[in-house]
């Protein structure tokens, strides 16, 4: 029981790190980027390549995945995405689905279609007993790391100058622009950091869920659920939504494997109907 709760929380934390970039870019630019998972996949595969082919330590692979995905995100934002902010949502959806298809095929070409995993360093393997439940060390590592990241993000958002500019831009981009805030630059930076976080999340996921080229499509729906349940205006909303989703998914698959798949979709549709703005947002803004 406690093990499942712990696994669910770890999974939820991971989802949060994976999805938070998408939440911010969606809230900031009203831009639907279904290709967000592709950046996570880039980070995940970079980790696999670094560890399995070049024997780099796992601990070095994580920041590398962050930097790699962030640069990738920045480059794509500057060259491609920037043309799409003014286009319709349909165009954005099609464009990003096109990117997902391309990313899937590229990874398939270079890495093969089979699932790939990494061997965790011995310090992260094994389990410990905690209040009578046995919990994987890697789960604890994930929770701690993602927890620290969340606290860091929250700090940056609420306490720094950049954070207040970002919040202003999310709340009302036009007025923020009028106040002399360079929303475009903020957006580019946020996009890069969000992609980087997705890459880091992807790298972390290689230890829990294996990587294969369909990763972006498979997890796209999870990201969308996080956003629809959590709302795209804060980071606490998506955070709790991710935890809820992680626990519900793990518990659902464990206790009711037959209907496990329905639960999360049904929750999403129900939330969208009852609270179109998200479960954890103020009713109106």
């Amino acid at each position: 029981m406690l093990t499942i709760l712990f696994d669910g929380v770890a999974y939820g934390m991971l989802l949060f790190v994976l999805a938070i970039g998408l939440c911010v870019t969606l809230g900031l630019m009203n831009f639907i980027n279904l290709a967000h998972g592709a950046f996570a996949m880039a980070g995940g595969y970079l980790t696999i390549v670094m560890m399995n082919r070049y024997g780099v330590s796992f601990y070095w692979s994580l920041p590398a995945a962050f930097v790699f995905s962030a640069i990738l995100g920045a480059v794509l934002e500057h060259t491609l995405y920037v043309h799409l902010y003014t286009k319709s949502h349909l165009d954005q959806v099609l464009f990003s689905i096109g990117l997902v298809f391309m990313a899937t095929a590229i990874v398939d070409y270079f890495m093969g279609a089979n699932q790939q995993t990494i061997n965790l360093p011995s310090s992260l393997e094994g389990r410990v007993d905690f209040l009578g439940a046995s919990i994987g060390v890697y789960r604890i590592f994930t929770i701690v790391l993602c927890g620290l990241l969340t606290i860091g993000l929250q700090f940056v958002l609420s306490k720094t100058r950049f954070g207040s500019r970002l919040r202003a831009a999310v709340d009302d981009g036009r007025v923020a622009r009028g106040m002399g805030i360079d929303v475009t630059k903020i957006f580019a930076l946020t996009f890069a950091v969000g992609s980087g976080l997705a890459g880091l999340g992807g790298a972390l996921s290689t230890g829990i869920i294996s990587m294969d080229p369909t990763f972006p499509l498979k997890y796209m729906i999870y990201f969308l659920i996080v956003i629809s349940v959590g709302g795209a205006t804060t980071i606490t909303g998506p955070f709790f939504a991710s935890l809820l989703l992680g626990v519900a998914d793990v518990a659902g698959k464990y206790y009711m494997p037959a209907v496990g798949g329905f639960i999360i979709y049904t929750i999403m549709v129900a939330v969208l109907i009852l609270r179109p703005q998200g479960l954890f947002t103020r009713a109106s803004r």
Partner: protein
């Protein structure tokens, strides 16, 4: 909730509507070409391999794209879940035909189509209320969510749908008791084409009616449309349910002509492919989906011949380029050329 269009429209507006509803020469040409494919690829000419099964599949895909065109191209609803109705229709027709063991009442293909249309129309009506709310993103996710739930249902209800293996051996009785489905797909193609034409004709009537005009108004600006007295929600519900029924017919067609129904027919990529087909061909012309379906499958065959595995890459590339550089898909391109050709010399 009345969806009956005001039948009388006098004066200039009515005349314009009538003029737009006229069949053009290139439309007649299009349908003649579609029929002529039957003779070219129907194993009548020695040396040309029969491709009628592929063509029937294209027809079914085109019909699915046409149903999306009604929702997206005319009413402006972004949907990623039209595959749900396609799959539902396929399963309805498949289960019925299988239960009927290939004899008349249950296995009759036309009754199968009607049943699929009815079930999907009702499903569309019920889910349309979810789609009315919220922004593009909400609609996208709700339609996607409904499609995923249905796909999961099809996967789990093994006793009815055959689970992951799908339904095999869906045999239909002869069409109208006369024409049996043959090995070469001759009956299948003509049958599909006839069904496509009926659905197309219906859609064409609808978009050229005052009802269709009001949809365009809603797409342009829902707020203003409401202000001039268009019952926005009722219109959206009506078109969404109708498009769902047409998508169901498309799915039923595929199930009947391939004699099987599988979870693949209801999967996410079905919805995505159909959306791509429509955008590739050009949304808002009715023909976009049909032309897109032909190009899509031909492209898939040609590219797939040398890189079967990586054709997704080229598909993605085409999509990205399309969004960045081309408005209105293939038909939009042709229209642009046509306009430039005919307007040479004129001052703009």
């Amino acid at each position: 909730m009345s969806m009956a269009p005001h039948s009388k429209l006098d004066g200039e507006a009515g005349a314009r509507l009538l003029a737009k509803a006229q069949w053009r020469w290139y439309e007649v040409l299009f349908w003649l070409a579609a029929i002529s494919l039957y003779f070219v690829f129907g194993d009548f000419i020695p040396g040309i391999p029969t491709k009628l099964m592929l063509l029937s599949e294209i027809v079914s895909l085109g019909l699915l794209a046409l149903s999306i065109d009604l929702v997206l191209g005319y009413a402006g609803i972004v949907t990623l879940g039209q595959g749900a109705f396609f799959g539902l229709g396929a399963y309805v027709a498949g289960v019925m035909a299988k239960a009927g063991m290939g004899v008349f009442p249950l296995s009759d293909p036309l009754l199968g189509l009607l049943a699929a249309a009815a079930v999907c129309g009702i499903a569309g009506f019920l889910t349309s209320f979810l789609v009315l709310r919220g922004s593009d993103l909400t609609r996208l996710m709700v339609t996607l969510g409904v499609a995923l739930i249905l796909a999961e249902l099809a996967n789990q209800m093994r006793w009815l749908t055959g689970g992951a293996d799908g339904l095999q051996g869906v045999t239909s009785s002869p069409i109208l008791g006369q024409w049996d489905f043959d090995l070469w797909g001759r009956t299948a193609y003509l049958y599909s084409l006839a069904v496509l034409f009926v659905c197309f004709w219906l859609s064409r009537r609808i978009v050229h009616s005052t009802f269709g005009l009001s949809l365009k108004a809603i797409k342009g600006n829902a707020l203003r449309a409401r202000a001039i007295g268009v019952p926005v929600n009722a219109r959206l519900i009506a078109i969404y349910a109708l498009a769902a029924a047409i998508a169901g017919v498309a799915g039923a067609l595929l199930a009947q002509t391939t004699q099987s129904a599988s979870p693949d027919m209801i999967a996410f990529h079905r919805s995505a492919d159909a959306l791509l087909i429509l955008v590739f061909g050009g949304a808002g012309y009715l023909y976009g989906g049909l032309i897109g379906a032909v190009l899509f499958r031909v492209m898939q065959d040609v590219i797939g011949a040398f890189t079967l595995q990586y054709w997704q890459f080229w598909l993605g590339l085409v999509l990205v380029l399309l969004v960045l550089f081309v408005r209105g898909g293939v038909i939009g391109l042709l229209e642009g050329w046509w306009n430039r050709m005919t307007r040479t010399g004129d001052a703009p």
